[in-house]
Each structure stands twice: as structure tokens, then as C-alpha cells.
């Protein structure tokens, strides 16, 4: 039987890659992919622990999460398209409407 360490290792790697991608990349699609990657890593962890303890709770939650992620993907992609229509770009740096402006203070 495969040890749970290997699953956890893969999950952590996925989470780390997603995190780095989220923080470093500017393309909104890549950012979205990174978030999905982190979510998937969490799913994997849930499933792994569920199996480790011989209970099904974690597996059920991860299944529910997949459904939520699917719905979220639809909203996310719609948002990206909408942002693109306003700013003509998918660069996350181009959306700065919520910045604090010093001279207005």
C-alpha cells in the first residue's frame, strides 16, 4: 500500500506551486489556474486523511468541493471576460480602481 506521506507530499507541492503562481503571475487565467491548483491540493489532502482514518467524511467533503469548484469556475471565467471587456486586458495589475490615493485623503 502506498504510504500517505507520498500523497501529502504531492498535495503540498501542488499547493506551493499554486501559491507561487498566485503571487507571481499577472495573467488572470494563470492566477485562476493557480487557485484551482491549490483547491485541488486541498481536496487531495482531504481525501488522503479520509482514507488514513478509514472514514468517509473527508471524501464526501472533497466531492462536494469539486461541485463548488465547478460552479466557481463558471463565475470566475465570466468575471475574467467581464474585466477584459472593461480594461481590454487580462493583466491583474491593470485593475487598480480600489487603490488608496494619497492626494485624495
Amino acid at each position: 500500500m502506498l504510504s500517505p506521506d507520498k500523497f501529502l507530499f504531492v498535495a503540498v507541492m501542488m499547493f506551493a506551486i499554486g501559491l507561487i503562481g498566485l503571487m507571481l503571475r499577472r495573467n488572470l487565467f494563470v492566477v485562476y489556474l493557480s487557485i484551482e491548483l491549490m483547491l485541488s491540493s486541498v481536496n487531495l489532502i482531504l481525501a488522503t486523511f479520509s482514507r488514513m482514518h478509514g472514514e468517509m467524511d473527508g471524501g464526501v467533503v472533497s466531492l462536494l468541493m469539486i461541485a463548488v469548484i465547478a460552479a466557481e469556475a463558471a463565475i470566475f471565467l465570466a468575471l475574467i471576460i467581464y474585466i477584459y471587456r472593461i480594461t481590454k486586458s487580462v493583466d491583474s495589475q491593470s485593475i487598480t480602481q480600489l487603490t488608496h490615493k494619497r492626494d485624495e485623503a
Binding site: 487598480t96 487603490t99 488608496h100
Partner: protein, 626 residues
């Protein structure tokens, strides 16, 4: 008679109020000088008459039955019972006699002197107020009322010294007089407080104090006596609180005459004499007073010898003569001290009024080395000044001879030879500097003419004549200690001198005075030279021993740097700084926090992840700790 005594104090205050109100209401200057002068002169004249009536009535009564006039109870709280009550005994009787008489003459003189001043009404309001304050001080029957008069005198002198208020140095002089006097007043009020507590509510009138002090410890009495004398130092311009006196010459000349002759500076000597019963218990404090007086007399005479301003010479001579009075009262010769006070009032008023006449005739010139030969131009003034000068240099038979001789002889007979030598030296210097003034002003430059001289009016000349007669004759009251016996103060006894010794001392006094006159004639008789600071010791005298500079350095500069410190450091840096840190800190903090909200999604993601990580770590630690 009680009513008369009250009126003497009330009338000057009343007329001062009327004059002051008229002056304030009359903003368009409709009221003539005659109106003000009438009110201002009537009051002192009436008061003088009243005081003469009282003097004649009192003289026939035994000296231990003073006259009291009870006006009202001022404060009555527990042990503190202060009556507004006046007392007229032999001492205050002499005082009101010459204060009102000389005060009236100075008022008459001032009417003409101040004729062209636009503040004429105000001046006389102050003048009457000054007179009233001094009378209140003198007839007070308890030290609290005396202190009120004492303070009012200080206030009046402040107002009058700064009367020419358009020149800022005059205001400085007025402030200086007021502040230096405040130092002395502090001593006075502390002494009264200590005395009051020590007496434990046995009453606080002079007679009650006299009965009560027998039960007090020697150290308490010494403390009270020394502090009371600090008050006298301030009012009577003794070392170290004399610095205001020469600067007080900034006021109009009648003010100087009033301050130096009838009011103000005499208050200190009067107060010590009034507390004579207390000082008799503590002769060592009395000796201290005498030494302070002697050194003040000597130093003032030295400064006067190198002064050029005619009024300042007279100011220093006042300080010097007050020194003599303090020698007398310090050694327990209260009668002699008050007698010198009495004669001094005549000749010093005369000197100042003569000097004022010279000043006004010469268009407000005060430097004696720019005068000369005035003997021929102002003959009446010259004769008056000469009589006053002979009186102050104690040439018989003029007034100062009898009073000063009594003091100097008392110092010798009571065995204080150091004091006696200082007093003799001062007498020599007095003769020197007073005749220096006479020679330089009236004799020197015998060809000098004055084409633009202002003629002097009758109201200036007549008071001079009256005072000249007084200066020449009042000394005879002191023959065979007649004055001292009359005043009946608790003098400390001295061994009676032999006739030979008495005549010897008298001859020595006259010789010393003549020596001073001769020296003054040699140096200044024909062709006087102004003093030059060519050797260090002369520079020391000309610069008044640098005392003003020292006081400025010690007190004024210290206070100023202290207030600058409080202004800039305590207020500016500490208090404003803390407030600034609070408000500015919030602003800066806000700006710093605002920069976190930079609109970049990546940064926000970082915050979220960092926060979640930190929370997770904390959670892990907490779980492990369980």
C-alpha cells in the same frame, strides 16, 4: 478728634477718586488745569490743617495715651480679627505732621511743574493717592492695615515713576521699582504671618503685639525682626535692594521729591521704629540693620561722588541719609533716627525742588557738567539749594547738623567704633559730593550765559522759600534731645558723654564736613572736569560697582532664560511635542496603513496567505500546548 484722624486718611483717597474719575470721564479735555489743581491742592491743605490741629491737641496730652479712631471691623474670622482702626501716638503724629506739610508744598510746586503736561489731572489723582497711602501706612494701628498702606505706596510710586510712559526706559524703571519692592514686601508679609501664628491669636494690633512678644522665643523674634527689615530694605532702598532708587528718577521731579522726602522711602525707617519694642528684644538683629545702613550710606556716597545726573546724585544722597537713619534705629536710637527722617524730609524736598527748578529752567537738562554759573541766573534757587546742602552736610545751625550729629554720636557712645568710622567717612563724602554739585552747577564756568532760560513762576519759588526756612530751623527742635524725648520711643540707653567728649565729637563732625567742602572746592570750584574712568577703581565707582549688571546677570538673565526654556522646551517641545506626536502619529500611521491598500490583487493574495499561515501556526502552537 477721632473723626479728624479718619478724615486725614479718607480725604486724599476721596479726592484722588474724584480727580481720577474726572480725568477718565473728561476724554475731550474740557476741564481746565485750574479745576484739577483746585481739588488737588485743597485736599492736602485741609489735611495739613487737620494734622496740625491734632498735633497741637496731642502735644499737651501724656505720651502713653494714643488716640484711636475705629472705622469698621474688616475681617473677623476665628482668631483673625482685623479692624480698620487708626492710631495716633507721638510717632505717627510727627510723621503725619511733616508728611502732610511737605506733601502740600510739593503739590503746590507740582501744579506749576506739570502745567503743560497733558496728563495733569491723572498726575494729581496719583499724587493725592500717594499721599493718602502714606498716611494710611503711618496711622495704621495694626500691621495688616500698615501693610495695605505699604503696598498702596508701592503701587502709587510705580504709577508715578512710569508717568512719562511714552519712553520705554521709564516703564522699565517703574517695573524695576515695583519688582524690587515686591522682594522686600515678601519679607514683610512672611514676617507678619510668622508673628501672627506665634502670637496665637492674642490680637494683632501694635499694642497687643507689644504685650504678646514677651512670651515668644528669641529665635522667633530674630526671624521676624530680620524679615521685617527685608521689607524695610526694599522700601527704604538699602543694600541689596537699593537698585530701584536711582532709576526711579525717571519720574517727574515732584514725584522724586515726594518719594524721597515725605513718602515711600521713609516707610522702612518708620516701620523699624514702630517695631522698636520688638527690636529691643533682639539687639543683634539691630546691629545687623545698623551695619547694612552704614554700608548703604558709604556705598551710596561713593556712587554719588562720581554721578553726573543731578537727580541721581540726590537719589544716592537719599540712600546715604537713609543709611544713617538705619544706623540709628538699628542701634536703638529710634528718636534720633526719626529726627533725622524729619529734618531730612525738609532738606531733601528742598534739594529736589531746587533741582527741578534748575532742570525746568534749562529745558530738561540734567547733566551737571553742562550747567554752571547758575548762581547769577537763578539766585533764589541757588540760595535755597545752598541752605539745603548746608543742612545735608551738617553745618550748624542748619537742620541736618543736629540730627546727623545725634546719630553719629550715638554710634560712638554705644561703642560701635566701626560704624562710627564708616559714618564719619560718609559724612566727609556727603560734604564732598553735595558741594561738588553746588560748585559745578552754580559757580563753575563763571562766564556762561543762558539766553533761552525759562522763567520760574511763583508756585515754584514760594515752596522753596518755605522749605528753606524749615531746613534752616527745624534742627533746633533736637537740642538737648528734645525731639527724642517728645517722640517717646523705647530708645536703648547709652552712657552719657562728658561735656568734653561731646564738644570734641561735635567739632570733629564739623571739621570733617568742612574738609569735604574744601576738597570739592579744590576739584570743582572753578573749572570742573566730568569724571573719567581712567583708573580701575574710578571705573568701579562710575559703573556703580557693576551691581546692576550683576543683578541683571543673576536674576534677570536667569529668569529670562528660564522663561525661554519653558516657552521653547517645556511648552514647545514637550507639551506641543506630545500633542503633535498624537495627531501627527495618527496621520502618519494612517498614511502607512493606506499604502497597504495598493489595488494589486497579488499583494492582497499575499496578505491573505500570510495571515492564514500565521493563524495556522498559532493554532498549531496552541494545540501543542494543550
Amino acid at each position: 478728634m477721632e473723626a479728624l484722624l479718619s478724615l486725614i486718611v479718607i480725604l486724599p483717597f476721596l479726592s484722588a477718586t474724584i480727580l481720577g474719575l474726572s480725568y477718565l470721564v473728561d476724554s475731550k479735555k474740557n476741564l481746565s488745569n485750574t479745576y484739577y489743581a483746585t481739588i488737588a491742592l485743597t485736599t492736602p491743605a485741609i489735611v495739613t490743617l487737620l494734622s496740625f490741629v491734632l498735633v497741637f491737641k496731642m502735644s499737651t496730652m501724656p505720651h502713653d495715651t494714643p488716640l484711636y479712631a475705629h472705622l469698621f471691623d474688616w475681617v473677623k474670622v476665628g482668631q483673625l480679627h482685623i479692624e480698620m482702626r487708626f492710631m495716633l501716638d507721638r510717632l505717627s503724629m510727627i510723621m503725619i505732621g511733616f508728611i502732610t506739610f511737605i506733601g502740600t508744598l510739593i503739590h503746590i510746586y507740582a501744579v506749576e511743574y506739570m502745567q503743560s503736561d497733558e496728563g495733569f489731572g491723572k498726575f494729581f489723582a496719583y499724587f493725592n493717592f500717594f499721599l493718602g497711602s502714606m498716611l494710611l501706612l503711618v496711622v495704621a494701628s495694626n500691621p495688616i492695615i500698615m501693610f495695605i498702606g505699604w503696598e498702596l505706596v508701592g503701587l502709587a510710586s510705580y504709577l508715578l515713576i512710569g508717568f512719562y510712559h511714552k519712553v520705554s526706559s521709564n516703564i522699565t524703571a517703574a517695573n524695576k521699582a515695583f519688582i524690587v519692592n515686591r522682594v522686600g514686601d515678601f519679607g514683610f508679609i512672611v514676617a507678619l504671618g510668622v508673628l501672627f501664628i506665634a502670637l496665637e491669636g492674642q490680637g494683632f494690633s501694635f499694642e497687643a503685639i507689644e504685650q504678646g512678644i514677651g512670651g515668644l522665643s528669641h529665635s522667633t523674634l530674630s526671624f521676624v525682626g530680620a524679615l521685617l527689615f527685608v521689607g524695610a530694605m526694599g522700601k527704604s532702598a538699602q543694600i541689596p535692594l537699593y537698585v530701584w532708587l536711582p532709576d526711579a528718577m525717571a519720574g517727574p521731579t515732584p514725584v522724586s521729591a515726594l518719594i524721597h522726602a515725605a513718602t515711600m522711602v521713609t516707610a522702612g525707617v518708620y516701620m523699624v521704629a514702630r517695631f522698636g519694642f520688638l527690636y529691643n528684644e533682639i539687639p543683634h538683629i539691630g546691629e545687623f540693620i545698623a551695619y547694612i545702613g552704614a554700608f548703604s550710606a558709604l556705598i551710596a556716597a561713593l556712587m554719588a561722588s562720581f554721578e553726573r545726573d543731578i537727580k541721581k546724585i540726590l537719589a544716592y544722597s537719599t540712600m546715604s541719609q537713609l543709611g544713617y537713619m538705619f544706623i540709628a534705629v538699628g542701634l536703638g536710637a529710634y528718636g534720633a533716627g526719626i529726627f533725622h527722617l524729619f529734618t531730612h524730609a525738609f532738606f531733601k524736598a528742598l534739594l529736589f525742588m531746587g533741582a527741578g527748578a534748575v532742570i525746568i529752567a534749562l529745558h530738561h537738562e540734567q547733566d551737571i557738567f553742562k550747567m554752571g554759573n547758575l548762581r547769577k541766573v537763578l539766585p533764589q534757587t541757588f540760595i535755597a539749594m545752598l541752605i539745603a546742602t548746608l543742612a545735608i552736610t551738617s553745618i550748624p545751625p542748619f537742620a541736618g547738623f543736629f540730627s546727623k550729629e545725634a546719630i553719629i554720636n550715638h554710634a560712638f557712645l554705644s561703642g560701635h567704633y566701626t560704624l562710627w568710622i564708616i559714618a564719619m567717612t560718609t559724612a566727609f563724602l556727603t560734604a564732598y559730593y553735595m558741594f561738588r554739585l553746588i560748585f559745578v552747577v552754580f559757580f563753575a564756568h563763571s562766564t556762561k550765559t543762558y539766553p533761552h532760560l525759562i522763567p520760574l513762576g511763583k508756585m515754584i519759588i514760594y515752596p522753596l522759600i518755605v522749605l528753606a526756612i524749615g531746613s534752616a530751623t527745624v534742627g533746633f527742635l533736637g537740642i538737648e534731645h528734645g525731639f527724642a524725648h517728645f517722640v517717646a520711643l523705647p530708645d536703648r540707653a547709652t552712657p552719657a558723654p562728658t561735656h568734653l567728649l561731646e564738644y570734641g565729637l561735635m567739632g570733629l563732625n564739623i571739621l570733617v564736613a568742612l574738609g569735604g567742602i574744601a576738597l570739592a572746592y579744590r576739584l570743582f570750584g572753578t573749572n570742573p572736569e566730568p569724571p573719567k574712568a581712567n583708573i580701575p577703581i574710578k571705573a568701579l565707582f562710575i559703573h556703580k560697582f557693576y551691581v546692576d549688571a550683576l543683578y541683571n546677570r543673576l536674576f534677570v538673565d536667569t529668569l529670562r532664560s528660564l522663561s525661554i526654556f519653558f516657552d521653547r522646551v517645556v511648552d514647545g517641545a514637550v507639551i506641543d511635542g506630545i500633542l503633535g506626536l498624537l495627531t501627527g502619529g495618527y496621520k502618519d500611521l494612517g498614511a502607512k496603513l493606506a499604502s497597504f491598500q495598493n489595488g494589486t490583487v497579488k499583494t492582497y493574495a499575499t496578505y491573505v496567505i500570510l495571515s492564514v499561515s500565521l493563524m495556522s501556526l498559532a493554532l498549531i502552537y496552541l494545540l501543542e500546548a494543550q
